[in-house]
C-alpha cells in the first residue's frame, strides 16, 4: 500500500512519522507543499491515501485534497492538523473520500488504526480465550480501560452470539455485591467497553437497554473454533482468573475427554 504525506514542517514531523509508519507495511513517501510534484506522483503511482497538513504556506490542505481527489477517485484522504477542523468544512467530494482526522500531536495507535481502515479488507479482531483472555487487532493487543470491561467482553464472547442480559452479566461478574452497586459497576464496564471498541474501530457490540448482543462478523475466537470442531488449542485452561469460567471449563473438559476417548 502506497501512501504520501504532505507537510511543510517536515523537519519537525519527519522522525516521528517515519518511526511510526516504518513499523507498518505501508510504503510511504514525504512531500513538501509542492503541488506539481504531488500531482505528478499521484498520476504515476497507485496511491492509497494522502495524509495532508491543513495549513501550509503555498496551498491549503482542503484545496489540495480537492485537486488530488479529482485526479484519483479512489484516493483516501487523512487530514493532519493542529487546528480544530470538522467534516462539515469539507466539500462533499472530499468529505466522501476522507478517512479521518489526526490532530497533532496524536497517539501513534490512532495513525495505525487509520492505516488499517484505509488498507480495508477484513480487519479481524482476534480473541484468545484459552489460557488468559486477550484480544488483538492484527498483532497489537487491545488495551481495555478496566479489568471488568475486559472480563465483560470475554463473557460476551463466551455467550457466542447469544444475548447477554444485565442480570446474567451481574450474577457472573459481581456475584457478591448488592444490586445497586453491581448495577453501577455493570454500567461502568459497559461504558468502558464501548469506548475501547470505539477507539479500535470495531463496533461489534450492540448496546441495548439492559442487554448486550455481539455481532460475530470480523471476530476470530479460538473457543468458537473449538466448539465448531475446527481446531483445538485447548490445554485445560479457559479465561484464567475469571470466576465464571469454571462452568465453561467443565463443559470443555467433558468434550475433550469424549474426543480423547474416541482417539
Amino acid at each position: 500500500m502506497k501512501i504520501i504525506i504532505v507537510d511543510d514542517e517536515m523537519v519537525a514531523h519527519h522522525t516521528f512519522l517515519s518511526d511510526v509508519i516504518g513499523k507498518t507495511d505501508a510504503d510511504y513517501r514525504f512531500f513538501k507543499d509542492d503541488v506539481p510534484a504531488i500531482e505528478d506522483y499521484i498520476r504515476k503511482n497507485k496511491v492509497a491515501a494522502a495524509f495532508l497538513d491543513v495549513s501550509m504556506p503555498s496551498v491549503n490542505g482542503f484545496e489540495l485534497a480537492e485537486k488530488l481527489v479529482a485526479l484519483d477517485g479512489d484516493l483516501r484522504i487523512v487530514f493532519v492538523t493542529g487546528l480544530d477542523v470538522t467534516p462539515e468544512e469539507l466539500s462533499p467530494a472530499v468529505r466522501e473520500r476522507t478517512a479521518g482526522f489526526l490532530y497533532k500531536p496524536y497517539d501513534p495507535d490512532e495513525l495505525r488504526n487509520l492505516l488499517a481502515v484505509i488498507e480495508g479488507g477484513a480487519r479481524k479482531l482476534t480473541a484468545r480465550m484459552f489460557g488468559s483472555f486477550e484480544c488483538f487487532v492484527g498483532e497489537v493487543p487491545v488495551r481495555f480501560s478496566s479489568n471488568k470491561s475486559k472480563e465483560l467482553f470475554a463473557l460476551l464472547l463466551a455467550y457466542d452470539g447469544d444475548t447477554l442480559s444485565m442480570t446474567d452479566a451481574i450474577s457472573q461478574l459481581w456475584p457478591d455485591l448488592d444490586t445497586d452497586k453491581s448495577k453501577s459497576l455493570y454500567r461502568d464496564a459497559v461504558w468502558r467497553l464501548r469506548k475501547t471498541l470505539q477507539q479500535i474501530g470495531f463496533n461489534c457490540v450492540e448496546f441495548r437497554r439492559a442487554c448486550l448482543v455481539l455481532d460475530k462478523e470480523n471476530i476470530e475466537c479460538d473457543y468458537w473454533d473449538l466448539k465448531r470442531g475446527l481446531s483445538s488449542e485447548y490445554r485445560g485452561e479457559f479465561c484464567k482468573s475469571y470466576d465464571w469460567s469454571v462452568d465453561y471449563l467443565a463443559a470443555l473438559d467433558v468434550k475433550e475427554e469424549a474426543k480423547n476417548r474416541r482417539t
Binding site: 480544530d84 497533532k104 453501577s184 454500567r187
Partner: protein
C-alpha cells in the same frame, strides 16, 4: 442601552412637536372666520385632524420598528392599523370631509362600528398578551388608572343625553361590583389587580359599544364618534407604554446577562488552564519517555487533547455529554500519570443523549481529588452517574473521600464556582453540593430536556450564545 433610550425619547419629542404643529395649523385653517356657535363643531374637526395625525405617526413608528423588533411589535402594528382604518371611517370625519351627505354617512357609520369593534378586540387581545408575559402589579394599576381616566372623557356626553348618562352609571356600577367580587373570592385574589383593571376595561368597552350603537341609530348629536375614540386611544397608549417599558427592561436584562456570562466564562477558562498542572504533566512525560516511547507518545496525545478541549471551550457553550465524559477520562488519565495513588472513576451512565456546558464536569472531578482526597483512600472512587427521570436527566458526581463540612470554610475551588455558575446561566439549574466530613461529596443537578439543537447550530459546533432570559 442609553442610545436606545435616547432614540425613544427623541422619537417622542418629535411626535409631540408634529402633533402640536398639526394642531396649530388646523386651528389656523379651520378657525378663520368661525363664529362662537360653531365652536363645538369646529373643535370636533380639530380633534379629528389631531387624532388622524397621531395615528398616522404612530403607525409609521411601528412600521419602522417592525423591521427591527418582531413578534409583539407585530401585534401593535396590526392594532394601530385597525385603529387608523377605524378613524378614517369615523362619521365625524366623514361629515368634516363631505358635509351632510347621508349615504356616505350611513356607510361610514356601519364601517366605523365594525372597525371599532375589531380594534377593541385587538386591544383586549394585546392586553391579555401583555398580562401573560408580565403581570407586574404596578403596571396593572397604571393601566387601570388610565382606564378610569377614560371615563372622564364620557362626562361631556352625559350633558347631551340622559339615557347615555344612565348607561354609563349602570356600567360603572357593574365595574365596581366586579372589582369587589374579585377582591373577595379566593379564586380571584391571586390576580386581583389584573381582574380589577380588566373589569374597568370591560365596562369601558361597554360604554364605547353603547355609544357606538346610539351613534349608528342616530340617537346622539354630532361629535360623539370623536369623543368615544379618546378612551380607546388612552387605553391603547397605557398598554403600549407598559409594553415598551417591559421590552426595555428585558433588553437591559439580556445585555447584562450576556456581559456577566462572558465574565464567568473568561474566568472559567483562565482557571481551567492551570500552569502548574501542565508543567507537572510535562515533567511526567519526560520520565515516561525514559521508560517507553509508546507511553510517552500516548501521554503527549493526551495532553494535546486536554489543551485542545480547553482552547475549544473559548467559543463553545454546549457539548454532548458523551464528549464531556471523554474529556473527563483524559483529565483522569493525566492525573493518574502524575499521582502516586490512582484515581478511580466509575462511569455509572444510564443515558448520554443530552448536552452539558463545556468543561462543566472536570472541576467536580478535580475537586474530588484535591479536597475529598478520594485517591488516597483504599477502594476510593468518583462516581459519575446519569439517570433518566420524568423531568429530565439527573446527573451526579459523587465520591467516597474524606468530604468536607459545607458550613465551614468552603474548600470548593473557583473551578467549582465557575462550573456551578455556568450550569445555572446556561441551563437554569444550580447544582446542589452535599457533603459532610467523612461522608464524601455529592454534586447533583437535574438537566431538563431541551429541544435538540437545530441542524445549523450543530454544524457550527454550537458556537452561538443562547440567551436564557425570559
Amino acid at each position: 442601552m442609553k442610545a436606545v433610550k435616547g432614540k425613544r425619547i427623541a422619537a417622542a419629542v418629535v411626535d409631540s412637536a408634529l402633533l402640536f404643529v398639526g394642531l396649530v395649523a388646523a386651528l389656523a385653517v379651520r378657525g378663520a372666520g368661525k363664529e362662537f356657535g360653531d365652536y363645538y363643531r369646529w373643535s370636533v374637526e380639530v380633534l379629528t385632524i389631531v387624532e388622524l395625525c397621531f395615528f398616522g405617526l404612530f403607525l409609521l413608528i411601528e412600521v419602522i420598528s417592525a423591521f427591527k423588533i418582531s413578534d409583539s411589535t407585530y401585534h401593535t402594528v396590526l392594532l394601530s392599523f385597525s385603529l387608523l382604518v377605524f378613524h378614517l371611517t369615523n362619521p365625524d370625519f366623514v361629515r368634516f370631509l363631505f358635509g351632510e351627505q347621508s349615504a356616505a354617512l350611513l356607510a361610514a357609520d356601519i364601517l366605523h362600528f365594525l372597525f371599532f369593534e375589531l380594534s377593541v378586540l385587538a386591544v383586549f387581545h394585546f392586553w391579555n398578551y401583555t398580562y401573560k408575559i408580565d403581570c407586574s402589579a404596578r403596571l396593572m394599576w397604571i393601566a387601570g388608572g388610565f382606564a378610569l381616566l377614560c371615563f372622564a372623557a364620557y362626562i361631556p356626553l352625559c350633558f347631551f343625553d340622559a339615557e347615555i348618562a344612565a348607561v354609563i352609571l349602570f356600567l360603572l356600577g357593574i365595574a365596581a361590583a366586579l372589582v369587589l367580587l374579585y377582591r373577595r373570592f379566593p379564586w380571584g385574589q391571586a390576580n386581583a389587580n389584573f381582574y380589577a383593571t380588566e373589569a374597568l376595561f370591560y365596562s369601558l368597552v361597554g360604554c364605547v359599544v353603547t355609544c357606538g350603537i346610539c351613534d349608528a341609530l342616530d340617537f346622539v348629536p354630532y361629535g360623539v364618534a370623536s369623543f368615544q375614540e379618546l378612551p380607546v386611544i388612552v387605553v391603547f397608549l397605557a398598554i403600549y407604554s407598559a409594553f415598551a417599558m417591559r421590552t426595555d427592561r428585558a433588553a437591559l436584562q439580556a445585555s447584562e446577562y450576556k456581559l456577566r456570562y462572558e465574565q464567568v466564562k473568561t474566568r472559567a477558562l483562565k482557571e481551567q488552564i492551570k500552569p502548574h498542572f501542565i508543567f507537572n504533566v510535562l515533567a511526567a512525560i519526560q520520565s515516561l519517555y525514559r521508560v517507553s516511547l509508546d507511553g510517552g507518545d500516548r501521554a503527549v496525545a493526551l495532553l494535546s487533547k486536554h489543551l485542545r478541549t480547553n482552547i475549544e471551550a473559548a467559543d463553545t457553550d454546549f457539548i454532548p455529554f458523551e464528549k464531556e465524559l471523554d474529556n473527563v477520562q483524559v483529565l483522569v488519565d493525566l492525573e493518574n500519570m502524575r499521582l502516586e495513588k490512582k484515581v478511580n472513576v466509575v462511569y455509572d451512565v444510564d443515558c448520554t443523549d443530552f448536552e452539558v456546558p463545556i468543561l462543566s464536569l472536570q472541576p467536580y472531578v478535580e475537586n474530588a481529588v484535591k479536597y475529598s482526597r478520594v485517591n488516597e483512600k483504599e477502594d476510593g472512587y468518583i462516581r459519575i452517574s446519569t439517570r433518566r427521570t420524568e423531568e429530565g436527566v439527573l446527573l451526579s458526581v459523587s465520591d467516597n473521600g474524606v468530604g468536607f463540612d459545607p458550613n465551614a470554610v468552603s474548600p470548593s475551588s473557583c473551578g467549582i464556582r465557575n462550573a456551578s455558575e455556568r450550569f445555572s446561566m446556561l441551563m437554569g439549574v444550580a447544582p446542589a453540593i452535599e457533603s459532610a466530613p467523612g461522608k464524601g461529596v455529592t454534586v447533583s443537578v437535574l438537566i431538563k430536556d431541551r429541544p435538540s439543537p437545530s441542524g445549523e447550530e450543530k454544524q457550527k459546533g454550537r458556537k452561538k450564545h443562547e440567551n436564557h432570559h425570559r
